[in-house]
């Protein structure tokens, strides 16, 4: 059969067509766009080389967005990993109704970022929100959550954590349940306490999961945070919640600066590539696969 040799390629054609059309072609296009300056409707096109990139690195708002993104990612990813693990440990216990708790805790994952943002906005409303109601009861103070620095950033970080947490919990829970009883038993016999078992034995055993989750959560925090920010703060007050992704959206679709936005997307692409590369290079060494 002569066919045999080519069959795999033939079968790959549909996939490649779609990938090329919807991923590579737009990616190459935005890469090219970033070297031009074009009018809104595209009739005028001037080659400007790296000018768009230079403008970005001289722009106060871009550097600010860089900083905000960094804070947002660090805060959410670190909290999601540790909180996710701790909640998973709690849910791993055999208590009455644990299945119900698990289901309830997983709910935020099923809700879209946008709706999550709307819910938080409602709860953080300075006048009618639940959070301020309790705050004013306890400490007698109202906070203008989404419109004041630094509370706006804190608000979107909390909402982001709330949204991303279930994903980590599910993975850790699955991991915890796959750890064999014998390991734990021998640890108990060796005289370890619960805290030691959690951090010194279980957590290192789940390092492949942690490894996976860190990468996934960074990607999530970088790109999916858009919905929450758009609904809750629209990047304000004065850019204190404008992440790179949100700035990209604003520049492209509100300020009609397609070329600048293209340059931003290329930079985002490079950052993501770098993170993934570094992580696989240095991160993998510390991971123990069983």
């Amino acid at each position: 059969m002569k066919w045999g040799k080519y069959t795999p390629y033939l079968l790959l054609i549909p996939t490649f067509l779609i990938i090329i059309l919807f991923i590579y072609w737009p990616a190459i296009n935005s890469f090219l766009l970033s070297f031009y300056k074009t009018s809104l409707f595209g009739q005028k096109k001037i080659f400007v080389g790296l000018q768009n990139y230079l403008n970005l690195f001289h722009s106060e708002s871009f550097l600010e967005a860089f900083k905000v993104t960094l804070i947002y990612i660090c805060a959410t990813v670190v909290s999601v990993i540790f909180l996710g693990y701790l909640v998973a440990v709690l849910l791993d216990n055999k208590v009455v109704g644990v299945k119900i708790y698990r289901t309830l805790i997983f709910v935020p994952y099923a809700i879209s970022f946008t709706i999550g943002g709307a819910l938080w906005l409602f709860m953080l409303n300075p006048v009618a929100g639940h959070v301020n109601y309790f705050l004013s009861r306890i400490i007698g103070k109202n906070i203008n959550w989404v419109i004041e620095i630094p509370y706006a950033l804190i608000s979107v970080i909390i909402a982001g954590i709330w949204k991303m947490l279930p994903y980590s919990i599910i993975f850790y829970l699955a991991g915890l349940q796959s750890i064999s009883e014998e390991v734990i038993e021998s640890a108990i016999i060796d005289g370890s306490n619960a805290w030691q078992r959690i951090w010194k034995i279980k957590f290192p055993m789940l390092s492949p999961i942690t490894f996976y989750l860190v990468i996934m959560n960074i990607i999530d925090a970088m790109f999916e945070s858009f919905g929450i920010i758009d609904i809750m703060t629209r990047g304000g007050p004065f850019g204190s919640t404008t992440t790179l992704t949100y700035k990209l959206y604003q520049d492209a679709f509100f300020f009609y600066k397609t070329n600048l936005a293209a340059a931003e997307s290329v930079i985002l692409f490079l950052i993501m590539s770098l993170i993934t590369f570094l992580y696989f290079k240095f991160g993998e060494k510390t991971v123990s696969y069983q």
């Binding site: 409707f41 595209g42 007050p237 004065f238």
Partner: protein, 439 residues
Amino acid sequence: MKRFVLLFLSVLLLAGFTFSVTTIEFWHAMESDKVPLIQNMIQDFEALNPDIKVKLQYTGSYPETLNKLVAAVQTGNAPHIVQIYEIGTRLMIDSGVIVPVQDLLDQDKSYDVAVLLEPILNYYTVEGKLYSMPFNSSTCLLYYNKTLFEQAGLDPNRPPQTYEEVIEYCRILTKKDAKGQTLQYGLTWPTHSWVIEQLMAAADAPFVNNNNGRTGRATEAVFNNEAGLKIFELFDQLNKEGLILNTAREDWSASDENFISGKAAMLFTSTSDVRIFEEALTKNGYTLGTAFLPVPDASVSGGPVIGGASLWLIAGHPDSETKAAWEFMKFVTQEEQQILWHKGTGYFPTRKDAVKRLHYERFYAENPNYFTSLLQLLLAKKDYNTAGAIMGVFQQARDTIETAYERMAAGKMTPAEALAWAEKEVTKLIKEYNSIYQH
């Protein structure tokens, strides 16, 4: 046999009829209860013009509609008529993909554009040419809660007229509890640069150079002037004394909510919300009052600027279709349609005869708040300052001004610093935008 011939003829006629139907596409950005109003307009139009079919398409918010238009033009699927927000005017003029309404007006002697209200025409006329057909027009208005005025011992029929009075009234209207928590604010607003632009025009001051970009392309922002400073100082004072309730940036519904719930006694927002506020305040046991925009002092008198959106004709369609689209545009601005539109939404009736008829029907006598918004527009001084600024980077200019405002409100900048910074940044944006069109 005769019957057959007749049948044959009528089939032929029907066929010819259906074949000659011209379909035009109309993209709009209106939401909720405004959609059925537009659908009714189209029904009426199609009944009068059986040979034209209008395909209505909702294309999302104003910026989304513009983005979709860009994509559609590039792929050759552009609609015939598209509703573009007022600040997109310069972008559309520069786009090279439109047919200026003036071109069709010049050919069509049956339509004298002077039937439309002058202040509205002034906004969409650039360098002497009417570019688009006014559709939904509104301005900024000062809304106030008469009931709360009375409770505070203020005359409910004497709203504040100058900045000084605004501050004075806000001091009286702001209420705090024993712990220092504010129960009621004097003023709220959507924290939107649009309000600042409106106050600038009301103070009869320009926003950008070259007569607000109307006698030539604007090259610089000029709002760092005396009027601009006074506006920023007003807001600074209100913030420092805790008299104003700011919202998240450009959050119209939050400021509406603050006002409706009585959390704030006054509100700057669009005239197109008159109907909503009348209903909502009545429900809460309040009485609505409306007032002209305040001015720095009584000797100054400009007027509000038209906001909203207009209808643009997109080029590249067969002449017959463009003609049909033009017929539709003329129809939309007819008396009957404008009266329904005005009553249904609060947007201005764009025609003089519509205003006259509403008056004869005692509509304004019975709806004094509608009258305030119209009177403010009609009494406005007619110059380039009140015609409003035109520039290609309006969206980002607004963002910049809001940033300046927020920095000032947070106490990081003085009013003078904030204004100077914003002006410098906006000038940079304008120059950057212009560079491609002057290449």
